[in-house]
C-alpha cells in the first residue's frame, strides 16, 4: 500500500495515566494504520482504552511513549501551530456527550470551528447553513442549542464537525446517548459523508451492529489490540451497498 494512502499511523503507542502505584496503563504498545477513505470501528469493553486511543489518534492527547505519524510526519515534532491547524481543519470530532455551548444558538455552535480558523463572517454563515442542510436542521439555525432533542444535538455536532471540510471524523460513541431509531439517522449521516465526500471515519463504539457496518474493526482489551478483522473487499462493497 502506498504511504500517502495512510492518513494516521501510530507506532508502539503506550499511554500511562498517573504515577507509581496508582498508575493505569490505558494503552500498551499499540500499532495502527488508518487509510484514507476507510471506515474504522474501535470496539472493546468499557475501560479497555478505546477513547484513549481515539484521542491519541486525533492529537487531543499525547502518548507516554511511541509515535503518532500524520501524513508522514511525527506529530510530536510538529510545531504546535501546525497541530492546532490539523485539529481545526483536517479533523472533525463528534462526542457521545455532544459538548456544545448550550446557551448559544445552533448557528453559532456550528460556526465555532470557522471562528477559530479565522474564516470571514459572510463565508462562515454560508458554510454553516450548508452543513446544517446536510444534517437536515436548516430550520433550527436560530434555536438555542439547549432546546434541541438528543438526536438533533448530535446532528448539530456532525454539522460542526464537517464545516471545515475535514479529512477524518472521529466519533466517540456517537449514538451512545440516543435511542436506536435516532442512532440510525446519525449512522446514516456519517456513512453518507464517507461515501459522498470521502471522509475517513474513526468510530468508537460498543454497538456491534454499527461496528459491523465499518470496513474494519479493531478490538481492544486492556489497552492492546487483540483482534483485527477486515471485511473482504467484496463484502465491504456489498455492505456499503446495503446501507444505502
Amino acid at each position: 500500500m502506498p504511504k500517502n494512502n495512510t492518513v494516521i499511523s501510530i507506532r508502539n503507542v503506550t499511554k500511562i495515566y498517573g504515577h507509581g502505584d496508582s498508575s493505569v496503563t490505558a494503552l500498551n504498545g499499540v500499532n495502527l494504520d488508518i487509510k484514507r477513505g476507510e471506515t474504522l470501528a474501535i470496539v472493546g469493553k468499557s475501560g479497555s482504552g478505546k477513547s484513549t486511543l481515539a484521542h491519541i489518534l486525533a492529537t487531543l492527547d499525547q502518548p507516554t511513549s511511541g509515535e503518532v505519524v500524520i501524513d508522514g510526519k511525527n506529530s510530536a515534532k510538529l510545531p504546535r501551530r501546525v497541530v492546532n491547524r490539523l485539529r481545526n481543519r483536517t479533523f472533525g470530532f463528534v462526542f457521545q456527550q455532544f459538548y456544545m455551548n448550550s446557551r448559544d444558538t445552533v448557528l453559532n455552535n456550528v460556526m465555532l470551528p470557522m471562528v477559530i480558523a479565522g474564516v470571514k463572517p459572510s463565508t462562515r454563515r454560508k458554510r454553516a447553513m450548508e452543513a446544517l442542510k446536510t444534517v437536515e436542521l436548516a430550520d433550527k439555525v436560530k434555536s438555542k442549542a439547549n432546546d434541541l432533542s438528543g438526536g438533533q444535538k448530535q446532528r448539530v455536532c456532525i454539522a460542526r464537525a464537517i464545516v471545515n471540510n475535514p479529512a477524518v471524523i472521529f466519533a466517540d460513541e456517537p449514538t451512545g446517548n440516543l435511542d436506536s431509531a435516532t442512532g440510525d439517522v446519525i449512522q446514516k449521516l456519517l456513512f453518507d459523508l464517507n461515501r459522498t465526500k470521502g471522509i475517513t471515519l474513526v468510530i468508537v463504539t460498543h454497538d456491534m451492529e454499527l461496528a459491523a457496518k465499518c470496513d474494519r474493526q479493531i478490538h481492544i482489551k486492556d489497552g492492546q489490540i487483540i483482534d483485527e478483522s477486515q471485511d473482504a473487499t467484496d463484502s465491504v462493497k456489498s455492505a456499503k451497498g446495503d446501507r444505502k
Binding site: 491547524r85 481545526n88 470530532f93 459538548y99 470551528p113 477559530i116 479565522g118
Partner: protein
C-alpha cells in the same frame, strides 16, 4: 481566530453572569471615578491659581527676608528640638530687621533695579467720606510692585509713585459704601481707619478710589493701596514710635531689571542674595508653595482611589477565575478544535480589559455628570466669593490616561486566570462536570 471575534466573544461572555460582572465593574468604577474626580479638582484648583497669577502677572520682583528669619520659620514649622549655642551675630533683633543699609546692599546686586521696604500695614475699617457714615471692616495692603495687574471691574491701576493716596477697592464694598455702581465709586474719596500700636488711638486717612477690583483669591479680598496711602496708614499705626522705627522692616521688595525677568535670571539673583545672607522668593515660589499644599491633599485622595482599584483588581481575578471554572468545557472544546493557547489567553485577557474598559468609561461618564452638577452648585455656595473658580476641570488627556491605566491594571489582574485557562488540557476540560 480574528481579534474582532476575540473581542466580541470576550465581551459577550462577560454578560453571561450579569450580576457578577456588574459588581466587578462597579468596584472598578469606584476606583476610576475617585481618581478622575481628584485629578479634576486638582486641575480646577491649579488652573484657577494659574489664571489668577497670570492676571496678577508680576514675575519681576522678589520678596527678600533675612535668611535667619526664614530659617527660624522653618525650624519652627518642622518642630526642631535642637538647642543651639548663642552667638552675638544671632542676635534675634538685629538679625531679623532690615534697614536702609540692606536696601543699599540689595540694590547693588547685579540684576536688581531697585529695592524698597515691604510695608506691612494693618487697617481696621473703611467708611464713606461723609461724617457719621457706617464703618465696615476692611484689610488694605500696599501693593508690592507697580507691575502687578489687578482684575479691574472699573477705573484704572494704582499709580505707585503718585503723591496722591490711592486705593483699589474690592467690588463687594461698592454697595455698602453707598455708591450706585463700580463706575460711580471711581474717583470718590473714602476714609481708612487704623490704630496706633503704641497709643491705641484710632485715626483715619483719606484715600481716593482709582479702581474697583473683581473678587479673587490673590489678596483674599483685601484692598490694594499705593505707597503714599501706605505711608499715611503707617503714620497712624506708628504714631508715638521714634522715627528710627520707620526706616526698617522685616522684608524688602526688590524689583528685577527688565532683562532679568526670566526664571533663570531670577534664580541667579536669588543665589547672590543667598550668599549675602538673605532669603528671597518670587511670586512663582509662593504659588508653587500653595500648589504643593493642594497637591498633597489630592495625592492622599488619589491613594484612596488607587487602593480601591487594587481591591477591584482582586475582584477581577476572582470573577475571571470563576468564569474560567464555569467555562472549563467550553475551553476544552475550543482547544480540541485547534484554538491556540495564546488565543485563549488573549480571550480571557480581553475579558479582563473589557471589565476595566467599562469600569473606566462609566467612571468617565459619571465624572462628567458629577462635574455638571457640582460645579454650578459650588459656585453658588462655597465658591460664591471666588468668581471664575470652576472646582472640577477635566483634562481630556488625563482622563484618557486614567482609563488606559485602569484597563492596564485589569489586564494584569486578568493574566492569572487567563493563564489558567490557556494551560488547560482539552480532554480533562471536556470531562469536567
Amino acid at each position: 481566530m480574528k481579534l474582532y471575534d476575540m473581542i466580541r466573544m470576550g465581551n459577550s461572555n462577560l454578560w453571561r453572569n450579569k450580576s457578577r460582572t456588574f459588581l466587578t465593574i462597579l468596584a472598578i468604577f469606584i476606583g476610576a471615578f475617585t481618581i478622575m474626580m481628584t485629578t479634576g479638582i486638582n486641575t480646577g484648583v491649579n488652573n484657577y491659581i494659574d489664571r489668577q497669577v497670570a492676571a496678577v502677572g508680576s514675575e519681576d520682583y522678589l520678596q527678600v527676608m533675612p535668611a535667619q528669619m526664614a530659617e527660624q520659620f522653618e525650624s519652627l514649622m518642622s518642630g526642631s528640638n535642637e538647642v543651639r549655642e548663642y552667638k552675638p551675630e544671632d542676635n534675634s533683633t538685629t538679625s531679623q530687621i532690615l534697614t536702609d543699609e540692606d536696601i543699599t546692599k540689595i540694590e547693588s546686586v547685579d540684576g536688581i533695579d531697585s529695592a524698597k521696604f515691604y510695608t506691612m500695614v494693618t487697617t481696621d475699617y473703611v467708611a464713606n467720606g461723609q461724617d457719621g457714615a457706617t464703618k465696615y471692616q476692611m484689610n488694605a495692603s500696599v501693593m508690592p510692585t507697580a507691575s502687578m495687574k489687578l482684575d479691574l471691574a472699573a477705573g484704572s491701576d494704582l499709580d505707585m509713585d503718585n503723591d496722591e493716596a490711592q486705593i483699589v477697592l474690592p467690588d463687594k464694598y461698592v454697595k455698602p459704601l453707598g455708591f450706585a455702581s463700580n463706575e460711580d465709586a471711581v474717583g470718590k474719596t473714602i476714609k481708612i481707619g487704623a490704630t496706633s500700636q503704641v497709643t491705641q488711638q484710632t485715626d483715619e486717612a483719606e484715600v481716593k478710589i482709582v479702581g474697583v477690583q473683581n473678587a479673587s483669591v490673590v489678596g483674599m479680598g483685601s484692598a490694594w493701596m499705593n505707597d503714599k496711602a501706605g505711608q499715611l496708614i503707617e503714620d497712624i499705626t506708628m504714631a508715638g514710635l521714634p522715627q528710627e522705627y520707620r526706616n526698617q522692616a522685616n522684608a524688602i521688595v526688590a524689583q528685577l531689571d527688565k532683562d532679568h525677568i526670566s526664571e533663570e535670571a531670577a534664580s541667579k539673583v536669588k543665589e547672590q542674595l543667598e550668599d549675602m545672607g538673605y532669603s528671597s522668593m518670587t511670586l512663582t515660589d509662593t504659588v508653587s508653595m500653595i500648589k504643593s499644599f493642594f497637591d498633597a491633599i489630592t495625592t492622599v485622595l488619589t491613594i484612596f482611589g488607587a487602593i480601591s482599584l487594587l481591591a477591584a483588581a482582586i475582584g477581577i481575578i476572582n470573577t475571571l477565575y470563576m468564569s474560567v471554572q464555569e467555562r472549563t468545557r467550553e475551553i476544552g472544546l475550543m482547544k480540541a478544535m485547534g484554538l491556540s493557547r495564546a488565543k485563549i489567553f488573549g480571550m480571557f485577557s480581553l475579558e479582563a480589559i473589557a471589565l476595566g474598559f467599562w469600569g473606566g468609561i462609566i467612571g468617565l461618564a459619571v465624572a462628567f455628570i458629577a462635574r455638571a452638577i457640582v460645579n454650578p452648585l459650588a459656585s453658588r455656595t462655597f465658591l460664591a466669593s471666588l468668581p471664575g473658580f470652576t472646582l472640577i476641570e477635566f483634562n481630556p488627556l488625563y482622563l484618557l490616561i486614567i482609563v488606559l491605566i485602569v484597563m492596564a491594571i485589569a489586564f494584569l489582574a486578568g493574566t492569572l486566570p487567563a493563564r489558567r485557562a490557556a494551560n488547560k488540557d482539552p480532554i480533562e476540560s471536556l470531562r469536567y462536570e
